[in-house]
């Protein structure tokens, strides 16, 4: 039977030769991601019901990235998670990235630190866990009860999703990024357009994207309701993994979609004429060309988050800000996704470009992206943001407005003080 890469991966995890969409499977989890905000209940659950015993073979990556000591409550969350890690320091397969020299946002940390292998099954207590499909893994977000049960059993049930193939064609225009490609698609299919499906991306413009851009594309797939997002791994992926992986590559896990695998549907988009796009409040699917919003005055421009503050995101933003200043009325905030990227920025010319442009450079963390700390919006304020969600209240007051765009568009808008696509 012909299967998609997603079906093959779940079949492998379930110890079966073959699965089909709609079937229920119990799969072995290769990697569990834990953060500060959604782990507290899971830790308590493990203690109360499972003798505080972690499944022996489970690989765990801990990134306390969401709240970072913004107040006493969040300091307690951090302390609890770190205490849990300390208690389980004999669990050999746990990697912990506390606040310090190797810290950062989970979905950038896991690939960066070599925890993602093609063919892996990865779950984490955060909805954007779907990011890791960029490197050929099946990955999806789960809730706290599930995190606790994965900790205890190393397994989780899934209903095998159908796959939705998205074929991108044409030439990548210079002033658009993976963010624009996704916005174009979600603008077309809607925020539930891929509900409980695996979005499988292909086409030459996709293959031409660098790894950071691919990570952006799959990170965003949950915004179309997808269970997971995936790009079949190519040479570039293996080059990226070289010398980075914490666990050895397992060739038997490398799978690809069969040529006649079944898809729920196949959608094609030609992006040759795609202009820079922006998602208006309050849904990521409210997508229009940036050129239609040129009279929207912004109070804040945010370049941050797992979606929009990877090394490449910052390079292109800096390219636009170089020699420019942000508009006087704008708060320009740059928050590199991880400490490694932050260090790069501060030690090379990017840091100077951002500072000369009038930006503040904030440390890594989720912060402004979920309206938790740093860059929180007041009522009536407007932010253009390289993040992934613009729901009401997402970045602050319920009467604030978030417009989602690529880091390029955010940078160009910061300079104008009004929404603008980048002109290169």
């Amino acid at each position: 039977m012909e299967m998609t890469i997603t079906e093959k991966t779940l079949a492998r995890g379930a110890g079966r030769k073959y699965v089909k969409p709609g079937e229920f499977v119990d799969v072995d989890i290769d990697i569990l991601g834990m953060n500060d905000v959604t782990s507290t209940g899971a830790i308590k659950l493990l203690r109360k019901y499972f003798n505080n015993q972690i499944a022996e073979d489970l690989n765990i990556v801990v990134t306390p990235d969401h709240y970072d000591h913004r107040d006493i409550d969040s300091a307690e969350l951090y302390k609890e998670l770190m205490g849990f890690c300390e208690e389980h320091r004999d669990h050999k397969k746990m990697w912990v990235y506390p606040l310090g020299e190797n810290y950062g946002i989970c979905h950038v940390m896991l690939p960066q630190e070599g925890h993602v292998r093609p063919g892996d099954i990865i779950v984490g207590g955060d909805s954007h866990t779907c990011t890791y499909g960029a490197l050929g893994a099946f990955s999806t977000g789960i809730g706290t009860t599930e995190v606790g049960n994965v900790l205890a059993t190393g397994k989780l049930w899934f209903k095998v999703p159908e796959s939705l193939k998205i074929i991108i064609k044409g030439e990548n225009p210079e002033n658009i990024m993976a963010k624009d490609i996704f916005l174009h698609v979600v603008g077309n299919i809607g925020v539930d357009g891929a509900l409980y499906q695996a979005m499988e991306w292909e086409g030459r413009p996709i293959n031409e994207l660098n790894i950071d851009e691919k990570l952006t594309l799959t990170n965003l797939d949950i915004e179309a309701g997808a269970k997971s997002g995936i790009i079949q791994p190519d040479e570039k992926v293996f080059e990226y993994l070289e010398g980075r992986l914490k666990l050895p590559l397992d060739d038997s896990r490398l799978v690809y979609s069969d040529p006649n695998a079944k898809y729920a549907s196949v959608l094609e988009y030609d992006i040759s004429d795609l202009p820079p796009l922006v998602a208006k409040p309050y849904l990521p699917s409210n997508v229009v060309p940036a050129s239609e919003l040129e009279n929207v005055r912004i109070d804040q421009a945010f370049i941050g988050s797992c979606t929009g503050a990877k090394a490449y995101d910052l390079e292109v933003a800096a390219e636009i800000l170089k020699g420019n200043k942000k508009a006087r009325h704008v708060r320009l905030i740059v928050s590199p996704a991880t400490q490694k990227i932050y260090k790069e920025v501060m030690q090379n010319k990017l840091g100077k470009i951002f500072l000369d442009a009038g930006a503040v450079i904030w440390p890594p963390g989720c912060g402004a992206c979920l309206g938790a700390y740093m860059g929180v919006l007041a009522s009536g304020e407007v932010c253009i943001s390289s993040t992934n969600r613009n729901f009401r209240g997402r970045m602050g007051h319920r009467e604030s407005k978030v417009f989602l765009a690529s880091p390029m568009t955010v940078a160009a808008s910061a300079v104008k003080g009004y929404i603008r696509g980048a002109e290169l």
């Binding site: 229920f24 905000v37 959604t38 507290t40 209940g41 308590k44 659950l45 109360k48 019901y49 969401h66 709240y67 913004r70 107040d71 409550d73 969040s74 307690e76 969350l77 302390k79 609890e80 207590g125 955060d126 909805s127 866990t129 999806t140 977000g141 789960i142 809730g143 706290t144 009860t145 599930e146 606790g148 049960n149 205890a152 059993t153 049930w157 209903k159 925020v191 539930d192 509900l195 409980y196 949950i222 309701g225 269970k227 309050y282 849904l283 979920l370 309206g371 938790a372 929180v376 969600r389 729901f391 009401r392 209240g393 997402r394 319920r398």
Partner: protein, 178 residues
């Protein structure tokens, strides 16, 4: 899990997201608190950032008069925070009815056994009004609008989802299997 739920309905449209159900600024509230206290802590913030076009979900004393949410498509989209289920449960919600749920939200309802995420055959958010008295019989797949004298049906639960709900959630389900 209760099979028959009777109470007032609160009706919302499509794509009600977890940031509206429980805003990110409250996610730190569960540190150093026993699990049993979670619903009591989060209920006060339930639906705080919902579009103001809807009537208030909570009254001035932060009490919720509703037991049933009737929603449009894709209820619970967004974050994986189980704080959303906990906040609604704490507010007194016993069932959510929608033609479709965001998948992580759906799974969290089942795995935490917070309340049954009941998929209606049709979108009822235009046929039922906030304040209508409903009677929902899960096993019979019936959604009865007592106020309007109308009856609708819901889709069956998948067997595994039902078994997990009946066990009282994934933890209890797993404990029985081990």
């Amino acid at each position: 899990m209760k099979d028959v739920i009777v109470g007032e309905s609160y009706v919302v449209g499509d794509h009600i997201n977890t940031d509206a159900i429980i805003p990110g600024r409250y996610l730190g509230k569960l540190a150093s608190v026993p699990v049993e206290m979670y619903p009591e802590i989060l209920r006060k913030y339930a639906m705080e950032d919902l579009d103001p076009k809807y009537p208030p979900f909570l009254d001035k004393e932060k009490r919720c008069p509703y037991k049933i949410i009737v929603a449009g498509r894709n209820f619970g989209c967004g974050s994986s925070r189980e704080h959303a289920q906990i906040a609604l449960k704490g507010a007194g919600i016993e069932v959510v009815v929608a033609p479709s749920f965001a998948r992580i939200f759906y799974r969290n309802c089942i795995n935490g056994a917070w309340f049954p995420p009941t998929e209606s055959e049709e979108d009822l958010s235009k046929q039922i009004a906030t304040g209508d008295e409903l009677k929902i019989i899960i096993s019979e797949r019936k959604i009865v609008n007592v106020t309007k004298g109308e009856e609708h049906s819901s889709k069956p639960f998948d067997l595994l989802a039902k078994n997990i709900l009946d066990a009282g959630g994934l933890t209890q389900y797993n404990l029985r299997r081990i």
